[in-house]
Amino acid sequence: MSRHYLDLSRELLDRQIVDSNHMLCGKVDDIEIEGKEALRVVAILVGNRAASGRLPELAKRVSRGLFGSQLIRIPWKEVDVITHQVKLKSPAAEFGLDERKGFAFKIVSLLPGSWKK
């Protein structure tokens, strides 16, 4: 059963993103759209710059002051399939979305038994 449309605000925005290995790697924080009459989605945006842009001015500034303005742009052609989540064609690391590269990982891996379930 296929449909020929996608409700961007209900079915794309704020949905979970997973990479090609099914690893969770953030949410669709905003969508980049271009064109004048025929609009089309060119990228999905991830990171606090995109997310905080949807807040009122004061909250936006506080959010960026506290959590930075990281922005990661994932070209639309990198999107593999959209179900209740948005699956990418490549691993998260290629977009800079791999948690195992960040500072939380560095701290957690110092603790004993951090590789065990």
């Binding site: 969770l24 807040l55 948690e99 957690v108 891996s109 951090s114």
Partner: protein
């Protein structure tokens, strides 16, 4: 056989995890102040948490989506973030209160410096959550929390005034001296309702269903566990009100400290009663501390799309694991400032009721949506109860803060 064992353990765990420090304080103190007249609130609150607990478990089993996935999708980023921050604040306060409560219990059991015991409690919690699996944590604290059943036994010994107890189950106004006492009564109604329906219970329950890998075939398991487990849990809450009314009220004691509350089983069963009561409280408060720290981490991870889960090694979900560690650390710092844990409980319970409608509205909207839920969409009963409680809690949410201020936190 395996399924039957799972149901049995699930029920016991739900029951053992039902009581935490806020409910203990408000039930016993409420009973001591207003006798049996608050018993109907226990029933209203229990049916409420059954309604939304069942809904959150069913949504998790059917859609595999946790609560804050849905809150963000349904309410949008800005409103969702507001709910997340409020939920985090409440989880943090509740976790702080439970840690303080655990330190008080340790002091009663072993003696020693309270602040040192707070640190020991922190180290205990960090070690337990880091090394034990989700299922082990759930079972150990849920089952040992059942020691608190000694209060049910105490209630039976202390009181057999059945007709008066029964009359408390009908909504009523107690006989009080001044009109201001009515406001104190309403403050206790709101606080007891909130403590029975604390939002972390649904977050944690739904996250647990996902940790256990539930699917649509678990919808009935969910229903049985919630209804029977919470009904037995309510028996505990009823016993606590009865203990307050029959043991403390005649002596004009308004017990707020867990140690005072433990005097009731001690008076009936002696030293054994005291130790069982204190150990039951230790595991009940400890379980709630862990559930709140983990709920805060689950909610943040679900909202922001991080990798999450106790079933994953910490290295594979580093942000999630760091988040619950941080919540424990901050909650401990709150308690180390020397603030009275019981005071913290009161604030956490009152602020909880303010965020309950924000949590439950998106849940109801998803459970009512046939596109999301398919054949497991809310039936007429779940839908009606869902709306009833959403309206009731919205009224309670509006009344909560003014009542807190006017009654000076229930002190009149």
């Amino acid at each position: 056989m395996k399924k039957a064992l799972e149901i049995f353990l699930g029920i016991l765990t739900a029951m053992g995890g039902f009581v935490e420090i806020g409910e203990l304080v408000f039930s016993v103190d409420g009973g001591a102040k207003f006798g049996y007249s608050l018993l109907w609130v226990v029933i209203v609150g229990t049916v409420g948490i059954m309604t939304y607990g069942e809904m959150s478990g069913r949504i998790a089993a059917v859609t595999s989506q946790p609560v804050f996935f849905l809150i963000r999708q349904r309410a949008g980023y800005a409103a969702g973030l507001t709910t997340l921050l409020a939920a985090l604040a409440v989880s943090l306060l509740t976790c702080a209160a439970e840690i303080g409560g655990v330190a008080i219990i340790l002091k009663l059991l072993f003696g020693g410096n309270y602040f040192l015991l707070v640190i020991i409690a922190l180290v205990f919690f960090l070690t337990v959550v880091w090394f034990l699996s989700f299922q082990a944590i759930e079972r150990v604290f849920g089952l040992l929390g059942l020691l608190i059943l000694v209060f049910v036994a105490a209630a039976f010994y202390l009181d057999n005034n059945w007709s008066q107890i029964a009359s408390g189950f009908v909504p009523n106004l107690p006989a009080v001296e001044t009109s201001k006492d009515y406001l104190v009564y309403f403050y206790f109604v709101v606080a007891l309702l909130s403590s029975l329906m604390l939002p972390y219970e649904t977050y944690f329950y739904a996250a647990g269903a996902l940790e256990d890998g539930w699917n649509p075939s678990d919808v009935n398991l969910n229903r049985v566990i919630v209804i029977i487990g919470f009904a037995f849990g309510a028996l505990l809450a009823v016993a606590l009100v009865v203990v307050g009314a029959s043991y403390f009220k005649p002596m004009l004691i308004e017990p707020q400290l867990p140690g005072t509350v433990a005097l009731a089983p001690a008076s009936v069963f002696g030293k054994v009663g005291l130790i069982l009561g204190l150990l039951g409280m230790f595991f009940a408060f400890g379980g709630a501390a862990i559930e709140n720290a983990l709920s805060g981490a689950y909610n943040t991870a679900h909202f922001l799309g991080w990798t999450w889960g106790k079933f994953r090694p910490p290295k594979d979900a580093p942000r999630f694991h760091l988040a619950w560690i941080l919540i424990f650390l901050i909650a401990t710092l709150v308690i180390l400032t020397g603030v009275d844990p019981v005071q913290v409980v009161e604030y956490s319970v009152i602020f909880s009721v303010v965020i309950l409608p924000l949590t439950y509205a998106p849940m109801l909207s998803v459970a009512n949506d046939p596109d999301e839920m398919g054949p497991h969409v809310n039936g007429i009963l779940a839908k009606s109860l869902g709306w009833f409680y959403l309206i009731l809690l919205s009224i309670a949410a509006v009344a909560a803060l003014p009542l807190l201020v006017i009654t000076n936190g229930g002190k009149g």
